[in-house]
Symmetry: C2
Subunit: 339 residues, 2 copies
């Protein structure tokens, strides 16, 4: 297929990464339309040697779009995604606006890409931390019953967007010779600090980010009552989310067996050789497609518990790459259906 593809939020961190990945993967695109908000007059973005103008979203602009990738916030998706669907486009939405609706598939293609076979009009792209964790769990949960999950994240500042990343850069520069300045609204600084809050707090004491890990892990792995608990923490890293994971199964799970399952699973790279100091780090994951998994070891007190550490590029597999993979699968399925 080489139809008309739209990208909403084309000037943001995830939107720009989407464009880079569409170009890298040589996704066939006959026409590319870029949308964003803010001061846009005259703004263009380079794509495959062409300067593409960035425009504001409008109903007229949606006409004729075959596939629309949304990389903006929830309010934009809530308003415009249904209009794009009504105008005949398929939508891959990176916001969390539709993720928790039963009728909307939440897809990591390597895990539950079969949900794309029915050619759904709107597909939700999961949370950036959740994707890395479920990628590592998916091959294990096929081999044994997953009973409990505990996650502590180490999330990079790019996950909070371009402005947050600027705040990190400024904070680090200011913090070279003095205390890093407070963040927006007196918030704890990102620079030289660790902040155990990502997104707003819910009434149960968990942040929305932590609840996303709970809800989305259950939905993607199709384990609706899985016991999951998470702590989501921001660390002064630019790109690359990591997580310490403890997974408990219904039987002892040997680390060697886990590594064998990971090696056989697409999109995972095992980086796990303590003897030579090899284990996943965000710096190593940044700019790459694979989810890095390592530090596999048995829970010392319970052989059914398996501990491991994951790192992945939150802008790529955690957001833009996964969305493009979904788009590619939809395009391929549609082409096959037409034949």
């Amino acid at each position: 297929m080489s139809g008309c593809v739209g990208v909403v939020g084309a000037t943001g961190l995830v939107g720009r990464t989407m464009l880079a990945i569409l170009a890298e993967r040589q996704v066939p695109i006959a026409e590319l339309r870029l949308f964003a908000s803010g001061r846009l007059p005259g703004r263009t973005v380079e794509f495959r040697g062409h300067s593409i103008p960035v425009r504001e979203l409008s109903e007229a602009g949606l006409q004729g779009v075959d596939l629309m990738l949304f990389a903006a916030g929830n309010p934009v998706s809530e308003r415009w995604a249904p209009l794009a669907v009504a105008a005949g486009a398929r939508v891959v939405d990176n916001s969390s606006a539709f993720r928790y609706r039963d009728e909307i598939p939440l897809v990591v293609p390597e895990i539950n890409g079969d949900l794309l076979e029915s050619l759904p009009a709107l597909v939700a792209n999961p949370n950036c931390s959740t994707i890395a964790v479920v990628m590592a769990l998916a091959p294990l949960r096929r081999a044994a019953t997953l009973t409990r999950l505990w996650v502590a994240t180490y999330q990079s500042v790019s996950g909070a967007g371009g402005r947050a990343l600027q705040e990190l850069e400024q904070g680090v520069r200011a913090g070279l010779d003095g205390p890093p300045p407070l963040g927006a609204g007196g918030a704890a600084p990102y620079a030289f600090n660790v902040v155990p809050q990502i997104a707003a707090f819910e009434d149960n004491g968990y942040t929305r980010e932590e609840m996303k890990i709970v809800w989305e892990t259950r939905k993607i792995l199709d384990l609706p009552s899985l016991a999951v608990s998470a702590t989501a923490v921001r660390v002064p890293v630019r790109v690359g989310h990591a997580a310490a994971v403890r997974a408990e199964f219904d039987r002892p799970f040997d680390p060697d067996e886990a590594r064998a399952h990971w090696r056989a699973f697409p999109g995972i790279e095992v980086v796990d050789d303590p003897a030579t100091g090899r284990y996943p780090t965000p710096l190593q994951a940044a700019g790459r497609d694979a989810v890095l998994v390592g530090r596999a070891r048995r829970d010392l007190a319970d052989p059914r518990g398996l501990e491991f550490f994951v790192a992945s590029d939150n802008l790529r597999k955690g957001a833009a790459l996964n969305a493009v993979q979904i788009a590619e699968a939809l395009m391929a399925r549609e082409a096959a259906t037409r034949r």
Copy 2:
């Protein structure tokens, strides 16, 4: 008492913090002897307005010392602590050389300070991450039986010593406009990164730092068979260790009850008000004595599970302050015994 006090490793991060704390707390000291290794000729350190020479350790230098604080590595403690004891000094050792010997008390004064009443000749000071975690657990485990513990740490670079801290500073500066350089021996950089290795790996796939958390938590809380698992991770923070903790008890443990126990416990400050964005961070803990505890919430799947987050100054309560507290308790006990 106002005897002769010695500090070994007086020019290191922990040693210098010990001197600052001895001065702050106006610990009575008749004579102060400072020891270190390396290029020392003519080197002096300021203490309470006096320039104190720093000397190399020698058997002669140990004579007449009443209390020796060791803040050097294991080899120094292994060689010199027994000699200091033989010369009649009481020793508080910040290395891990003696921590796991049954006959050596491993003390956090607020928790098991009663072990100092017998005036032991050598007392071990615990690991910097472990201290914050056990401080938060101690008041809870008096109220209910602690059955399982899972810890993921966010440890600052000062925990690896002065040279590591320099490497962070240099890495951050170099990393402002390019990739941060690799660490010593090609190790993963500290700057703009997260490194899931602290100390060497053991045969079981855990690092020595992670095993310290296991062994020391059991010993300090006097729960020799407690199920503990840990992931120890270095983050690009200068001072202040944090940890995400999941503690499981034999009964449901309400977060409000936990906060009440923490408030009543010396050395803990509850920083836990999601509504106003208050939770512990390392930047907030740095330079302070209290262990900050917050983000208390119930495990979503099991009410016997309690999740929380701690942050504390790893150089102060995690090392130097705890050692000075032990020293003060020994001095007070000795004075009481003499009377």
